[in-house]
Amino acid sequence: MITREPLHIPDDATWKQRVLLGMQWGIADVGRAVTMGGGALANITVLRRTRGRNEFFRQLYVAGIDSLPVITVVALFIGMILALQLGIELHRYNQEARIGSAVMVSMLREMGPFITGLIMAACVGSAMAAQLGTMTVNDEIAALETMSIDPLRFLMTPRLVAIAVMAPILSFYTCMIGMLGGGIVGMTQVNVPWPQYLSNALEFAEVKDLYVGLLKAFLFGLVIGIVACYEGFTTTQGAVGVGQATRRSVITSFLLILIIGYFVTRIFYF
C-alpha cells in the first residue's frame, strides 16, 4: 500500500516516549519519501507511452505556465530592490556602475533558484499535495491500487519529472527578469545606462554561476515534487488531513530549499 494508516500515540505514553516515537516516525517518513522518489524516477520509461507523455506535458504546463505570472512580478521587483539597495551603497564609493555584476551574480548564484524554489513550493507543490491528498481520502489512490496500477508510475513520475525539468528553466527566466528589473532601476534611479549595466554584468558573471544555480533549481524541483507527492499519498483523516498535508508540504519544502541551497553553495564555492 502506498497510502498510510493514521498514526497513534498511546494515551499513557510519557513525554520521552512521545519524543522518541516522533523521531522514529520522522526518520521513517524520510526513508519512505526517498524510496517513493526513487521508485517514481525508476519508472521514467512511462513517459515514452502516450498517456505518460501527455500527463508529463500537462504537468509541465501546470508547473511552468501557471506560476509564470507570480514569478515574473516577484523576480522583477527582487531585481529592482537589489539594484536600488546596491546602488545606494555603491554610490557612496562612486562604484554604482558595478550594480550590473552584483545583481547578475546574486541572481544567478542564489536569488534566482531560491525565489523559483519558494514560489514553486507555494504554488505548484501545495497544489500537487492537495490534489493527491484529496485523491487519497476519496479512495482514488486505493482504486488505482486495486486495478494493479502503480500510483507512483501513473501519478508521481510525470509530476516529479515535470517539476524537476521546469525548475531550472524557470530559475533561468527568474534571473533574466531580475536582471531586467535591476537594469530599469539602474537607468532610472542610479544613473547607470543599460549598455554599461549589461556589459558590467556579463564581464563578471561566470559560467559556473549559471550551472550551479541551475543545479540548485533542479534539486529544489526534485525535493518539492517528492515532498508534495509524499504528503499527498500519506494524507489521512479527510478534509482536515488534506489541509495539514498541504501545509506540511510547503513548510518542509521551504526548509529543505534553505538547507540544500546552503550545502550546494558550500560544496561549489568554498
Binding site: M1, T3, E5, P6, H8, P10, D11, R51, M135, N138, D139, E140, A142, A143, E145, T146, M147, S148, I149, F154
Partner: protein
Amino acid sequence: MIRFDHIVKRFGRRTVLNDLSFEINKGEIFVIVGPSGTGKSVTLKHMARLLQPNSGTIWLDNESLSDAKGAQLEKMRERFGYLFQGGALLGWMTVAENVALPLLEKTELPKDEIARRVQEALEMVGLEDAVDKMPAEISGGMQKRAGLARAIVRKPEIVLYDEPTSGLDPVTSRTIDRLIQQLNHEVGVTSVVVTHDMQGALSIGHRLAMLYEGSFVEVGTPKEFMVSKVPIVQQFLAAQYIGKNFLQEGGVK
C-alpha cells in the same frame, strides 16, 4: 476461495477486527451486514490488500494474500474488481476514460475492443449516455454506477462491493442488486457485498454474515438469518421493517 484465518486489525488502541475467521466459496454472493463503524469496509479492504492485518493470514486459493508482494500481489489483485463507496472515479477523466483505464493500463487489447468493452460495461449499468461526461457533472448514484462499470470491465473473478446501494434511490438500488445477481449467474463472479440494506442483502445473498464488535455473530443463508435468535440480527431486521414472511413473499422484486 477467500479465507480469513484469525485476522486481527487494530487502529491505535481500538481493535476493529477481533480474531475474525471465515471462508468465502467460489461463485457465491457473500453479504456482510452490520452497524456503522463495526469494520465491514475494513474487512473488504483487507481482501484487496488495501490494509494489512496486525496478525492472522488471508488466503486466496491457498496463496497468502496478506504476505504477497510485488508481481505476485499485482497478479492476485488482477483477479479482483472493487467498487468503492463513492465510486472513486478520477476527476480529470471522462466516465468512459475512467472505465477504460484498467484495460488501457493493464492489457494489450486493441482500441476498438477496449471501446466495445467500455460500451458494454456502461450499458450494463445504464450509463451509455454519460460516456463523455466528467465525474463532477454526474450525480453520486451515477458515479457509483460508473465505478461499478470500471470494476467489472476487466471481467474479474471476484468483485468486492462497498455499500453498492447506499445513497441510491430504491429503483436504482434494485437495478444494482439485479446486476450483482446477473454477474453471478451468467459469469460465475464471486461477490462480496458490504451493505446496510437488509432487503437487498436477503434478496441477493447466498450467505449473510453479521459483523458486530470485530467478529461475526451470525453467518448463514437468508432463511437462517430470518429465524436468527441473535439480538443484533433481530434488531437489524426489525429496524428495516422486514417481517418473517419477507422471503416467502419473494423478497425484493
